[in-house]
Structures are given as structure tokens and as C-alpha cells.
């Protein structure tokens, strides 16, 4: 499929393929959005490059995708916005189910902090070098990762405790 890229996006893609020729796996478009899939181990370098050389200063969002039954099950997507050109680009990395670890980009964009925590909370993907990797929505006592496809919508009974209906008498 041939790509129809606007000039700024073309620049981005050219720059990436030039500097990280062995790290960029594929570039594709879907309904007008541009997705660049890169090797997981190079994400911090690529992020630094994109921020410093391509003006992707603003990190809009980070989210995970569960590619259930596929190889390299988890995908982490970085939603970047260039403030100079107004171009939006999505950078994707993939990781294995057994050892889902991705390097944290909090050193590049501090905004990634909470978004990465959310991905960890929902999918169980760990982020190396994250300053404060805790669950963000669910309590730490919860054992599961709810947005994984095998987790039932109604939850697992008893996985989160309900309050006791007799008043505290521990003191």
C-alpha cells in the first residue's frame, strides 16, 4: 500500500528511516492516521530523536493494545503531536506475553508517567526506569489486569474485597 503522507509526516518518516533504519519495522496508514512500528529496545532513543529533532514535544497519550492470540501479544502506542507542524504520529512497540517489559519514556516526556502507569494497571506491561510504577486505578491488592482479553467483563468474584457490613471493631 502506498502511503499518502503530508510533508511534515514525510519528513518524520524519512528522518526515522534514515537514522534508525534497522529499528523501524513498518510504517503504515489507516483511515488517515500514520502509525510507525519500531523495535521495543530502541524506543527511548527514537523518542528522544522525535522530541529534539522533529518537534514532537507534546505527548498526547500512551495506551496499550492486547493482540490476543497473536505473537508479541502486547502493543504500546505513543500518541505524539508536533507543535510546530500540527502533525500527529503514532509510534508502536510490541512486547511478549511472558515478559512484557518496555523502556519508560518518562525521561523524555514527563507526561508519560501516569499514562504508563495506566498501561501497567490495565495490561500488566512493565516499564523499565519508571519513577513510580504503581497501579493507578485499581488497588494494589488486585491481582489481575482487567483489559486483557481473557479477563471477564464482570470481573472475578472475590478479587476485590467488599467492606465488612459490621462496623470496625479492631480497636
Amino acid at each position: 500500500m502506498s502511503l499518502q503522507l503530508s510533508d511534515p509526516l514525510q519528513n518524520t518518516v524519512d528522518g526515522l528511516t534514515e537514522n534508525f533504519s534497522d529499528k523501524v519495522i513498518e510504517v503504515y496508514q489507516s483511515t488517515g492516521d500514520t502509525f510507525i512500528r519500531v523495535e521495543a529496545d530502541a524506543i527511548v532513543e527514537i523518542a528522544t530523536y522525535l522530541r529534539d529533532k522533529q518537534h514532537y514535544v507534546y505527548l498526547s497519550d500512551i495506551f496499550g493494545i492486547d493482540r490476543y492470540t497473536s505473537e508479541e501479544r502486547f502493543e504500546v502506542v505513543y500518541n505524539l503531536l508536533s507543535l510546530k507542524t500540527g502533525a500527529r504520529v503514532f509510534v508502536k512497540v510490541r512486547c511478549e506475553e511472558e515478559d512484557p517489559v518496555v523502556d519508560s519514556v518518562t525521561s523524555v516526556w514527563p507526561a508519560a508517567g501516569w499514562n504508563e502507569r495506566e498501561v501497567y494497571d490495565m495490561f500488566g506491561v512493565f516499564f523499565n526506569n519508571h519513577p513510580d510504577l504503581r497501579r493507578i486505578f485499581l488497588p494494589e491488592d488486585f491481582q489481575y489486569f482487567p483489559l486483557r482479553k481473557e479477563f471477564p467483563l464482570l470481573g472475578i468474584p472475590g478479587s476485590i474485597e467488599l467492606p465488612s457490613t459490621t462496623p470496625d471493631n479492631d480497636q
Binding site: L59, S60, F90, P110, E140
Partner: protein, 430 residues
């Protein structure tokens, strides 16, 4: 201060692991500049838990503050007290079925959430929307923006101590509720937008109400300005509190009015116009100071701009259908459903499977909700349900800002800063 100092004092009765990690993380924040004062006879510090049930946290935000007298040394936020997993729900619903859930995300401005989902689905499924529907959506969105900003104004001033002001803004909100009632039949969670258009046309009554509102509201806005702009106490409370510099705001990913109050005019309505925002004329108010007062001015001016947009929309409102006439893409009109067999079958099909975007398609579409950039990422697997639906919620992003600006402020400032950032927890907690 040692961690054991906090932990030994804490006696959690539920979610023990969670509380432990939270205090641990508070402990770890800024450890480099933290030093133990040997001469201090009070070796323990006061840890104040604000929330989750607290009058000023706009819902169920929990702040864990380490205090030095009245000054906040460091803080951690704990959110998720409203987490219900809408993204998981979305994977089990058709796109249209998911619409009411978006209402309950940012419940101060449900209309713009509906439009965000609709435009995202329309983008991924290539649905053409009639002109009139675009304009009706814009009117709804701007009304929602005014309604949201009004509640922000009321609660922010109320948090500063003036309780009546909240009631006065609520009087105006009631008018917007009336309009919404006339448009869609409910006070605020109206789910009026549909994939491929809107549910029904504006009635004459609704149009009359809107016209009356846009004529009277600027006067009210002037009154608010009169009351607050020269109010010394209000000024002192808000000036230079919660200051965020432009670079920091971009780094930490602030969005919406919070970012614009820091001096960066990022507005999705201008950046990548959706609906027909490229055909109306409006400005993006910005301020350079980045403090709470700047946020106040930005939002107040935005309300004025919204009135301007609604006026233009009413002038330009074209005649025509309000929903696309393609039974594979949107619900047929009720006339068809009641009086023709085909219409009824299509209605069934839409309810049962709904609209099916092509397999493997991915798209992201953002709108400028009152709180900031509200984006929906959808990945389709070719069925009527999304494979993955991710909501980029502005409140979530802005709450992260809160964790960074609170350090060094006073306890009394927390409430006005939370008010100034205007997070909605229903949206932040997903």
C-alpha cells in the same frame, strides 16, 4: 523521616498493600532534596489525607499531603475511586450502545463526549454526516462547554469560600438544562448525537430557548465579571497560585484551558477542525501567567467565544436531513421503522450488530472538549464491537499536572487549584 515512621502510624483496615505502596511512593518523592532535620523534636511529619470524600475534591479524588505547618511539602494523588472500566465495557458493546457511557464520562459536558465518539466512529467507518447535523452538534458542544465552565466557575469560587456564587451559576445552568431537555429529553445526559448525525432535529421551542439564552447570557457573564474582577480576596486567593510555566505545561502534557492559560494556544478546533469549526469565526483566548487567575480569565473568555459560535451556527444552520440516509451506517428514521418492513429490519440490524468498520482499521480522533483534548482511539476487528477503544481523557492528563504544581503551596490553595484545573473524576478514572 523514615518510611517506618509513616507506616507504623498508619493502621489501614482495607487495601493494605495499596496504602502501603502509596505512602512509600510519597516517601520516595523528591528524596534528593529531603533531609532529616536532626534538631527537630517532632520527628514525624503530618500526613493529611484529603479525600476520597471531601467537599472540595470535585468527586472522589484523594490527595495524600505531607505538611509542614500549613505548607504542603509533597503530595501524591490517588485516583481510581470511580474506575469502572469503560474501555472494557466498550469492547462488549456496539458503537451506538456505548454512547450513553460517554455521557457519564465527563458528566459536566456530556454533549461533547457524544460528539467525540461519533466523529471517531464516523472517521473509522467513513460515514458522511449531513451539514445540518454538524451545525446542531456544534451548538450542542458549545452549550455543553458553557455549562461545564459555569460549574467550574461556581465550584472554584465556592471553594474559595463564596457559597452563593455557586448557586448563581447554577441558575444559568438550569437554563442550559432546559434547552437540553427540549433538544433531547433529558437534563444533561442526553445522548443526542448519533453515529451518522443526531437523533432528532432542533424543535422550534428548543431554538427559541437557545436564542433567548444567547441573548441573556452575556449580561450574566458581565455580572460575574463585575463581581469577581475587582474582588480583592478572590484576586489574592488566585493570583500566583498553582503557577505552571509554558515549558512545564507542555512537558507534563497539560491540555485545554490549563495549557492555554500557560500561553500556548493549542485548540483542536483550530488544529484539526472537526464538524464545521473551520467555517465559524472564533478566537482562542490565552494568557501568559499560568496561574489560577489566568485560568479564570481564559475560561471566562471561552464562554464568550462559545456564545459567538452558537450565534454563527444559528445563522448558518442549513436546511436538510439530520442523519445520513444509509441504513448500513445509521439508524433509519422512526417513520421508516414504524411503517416499512425494511426500515424495521434495518433498525434491528443496527441495534443487533450496528455499524461495522473495516477489519484492521485504526483511527484516532480528538475533539476539544471543555476540559481539553478528548480523543477516541478505535481499533476495529470488522465486527460491530471495537477490538480496542481507548479514551484519551483530558481530566486524567490535567490531574497529572496537579501532582506537580501542588508542592510548596498551602493547604488552603489545594482547593482553589483543584477548582482551577477543573478535573472531572468520572472521566479521569474511566
Amino acid at each position: 523521616m523514615k518510611l517506618s515512621d509513616i507506616q507504623s502510624k498508619v493502621n489501614s483496615t482495607f487495601f493494605k498493600e495499596h496504602q502501603k505502596k502509596l505512602y512509600q511512593s510519597l516517601e520516595d518523592k523528591h528524596t534528593s532534596i529531603e533531609e532529616l532535620d536532626e534538631g527537630d523534636p517532632l520527628t514525624t511529619k503530618m500526613i493529611l489525607n484529603m479525600g476520597p470524600q471531601h467537599p472540595a475534591t470535585h468527586g472522589v479524588l484523594r490527595l495524600v499531603l505531607q505538611l509542614d505547618g500549613e505548607t504542603i511539602e509533597k503530595n501524591k494523588l490517588d485516583i481510581g475511586y470511580l474506575h469502572r472500566g469503560v474501555e472494557k465495557i466498550a469492547e462488549n458493546k456496539t458503537y451506538q450502545e456505548f454512547m450513553p457511557y460517554t455521557d457519564r464520562m465527563d458528566y459536566l459536558s456530556p454533549y461533547s463526549n457524544n460528539v467525540a465518539l461519533c466523529t471517531a466512529v464516523e472517521k473509522i467507518a467513513s460515514v458522511e454526516v449531513p451539514e445540518r447535523a454538524h451545525y446542531i452538534r456544534m451548538i450542542g458542544c458549545e452549550l455543553a462547554r458553557i455549562s461545564s465552565h459555569l460549574l467550574w466557575l461556581g465550584t472554584m469560587v465556592m471553594d474559595a469560600g463564596a457559597i452563593s456564587f455557586f448557586i448563581w451559576t447554577f441558575k444559568e445552568r438550569e437554563k442550559i438544562y432546559d434547552i437540553m431537555d427540549r433538544i433531547g429529553g433529558h437534563r444533561f445526559t442526553i445522548s443526542h448525537s448519533r453515529i451518522g448525525g443526531v437523533a432528532n432535529d432542533l424543535t422550534d421551542e428548543a431554538t427559541a430557548y437557545i436564542k433567548e439564552f444567547i441573548n441573556t447570557f452575556p449580561n450574566e457573564l458581565r455580572d460575574y465579571h463585575k463581581l469577581l474582577d475587582r474582588n480583592r480576596i478572590f484576586f489574592d486567593r488566585n493570583e500566583a497560585t498553582g503557577v505552571l510555566k509554558t515549558e512545564d505545561a507542555l512537558k507534563i502534557g497539560a491540555t485545554g484551558p490549563v495549557l492555554r492559560a500557560c500561553g500556548y494556544a493549542l485548540d483542536i478546533r483550530k488544529l484539526s477542525p472537526y464538524a464545521r469549526y473551520n467555517e465559524v469565526d472564533f478566537n482562542i483566548p490565552t494568557r501568559l501567567e499560568g496561574d489560577n487567575l489566568a485560568r479564570y480569565y481564559v475560561r471566562m473568555e471561552e464562554m464568550g467565544e462559545s456564545i459567538k459560535i452558537i450565534k454563527q451556527c444559528l445563522e448558518k444552520l442549513p436546511k436538510g436531513p439530520v442523519r445520513t440516509d444509509n441504513a448500513k451506517q445509521s439508524y433509519p428514521s422512526k417513520d421508516e421503522v414504524y411503517y416499512s418492513m425494511e426500515g424495521m429490519i434495518h433498525d434491528f440490524m443496527m441495534t443487533d450488530t450496528g455499524i461495522c468498520p473495516p477489519e484492521g482499521a485504526e483511527s484516532y480522533h480528538a475533539v476539544e472538549s471543555p476540559k481539553g483534548e478528548l480523543g477516541y482511539y478505535i481499533q476495529s476487528d470488522g465486527t460491530g464491537h471495537p477490538w480496542r477503544l481507548k479514551i484519551n481523557a483530558p481530566s486524567f492528563t490535567n490531574l497529572q499536572v496537579l501532582e506537580n504544581v501542588l508542592d510548596g503551596e498551602m493547604v488552603a490553595d489545594t482547593v482553589v487549584i483543584i477548582g482551577g484545573l477543573d478535573p472531572v473524576l468520572g472521566e479521569a478514572d474511566k
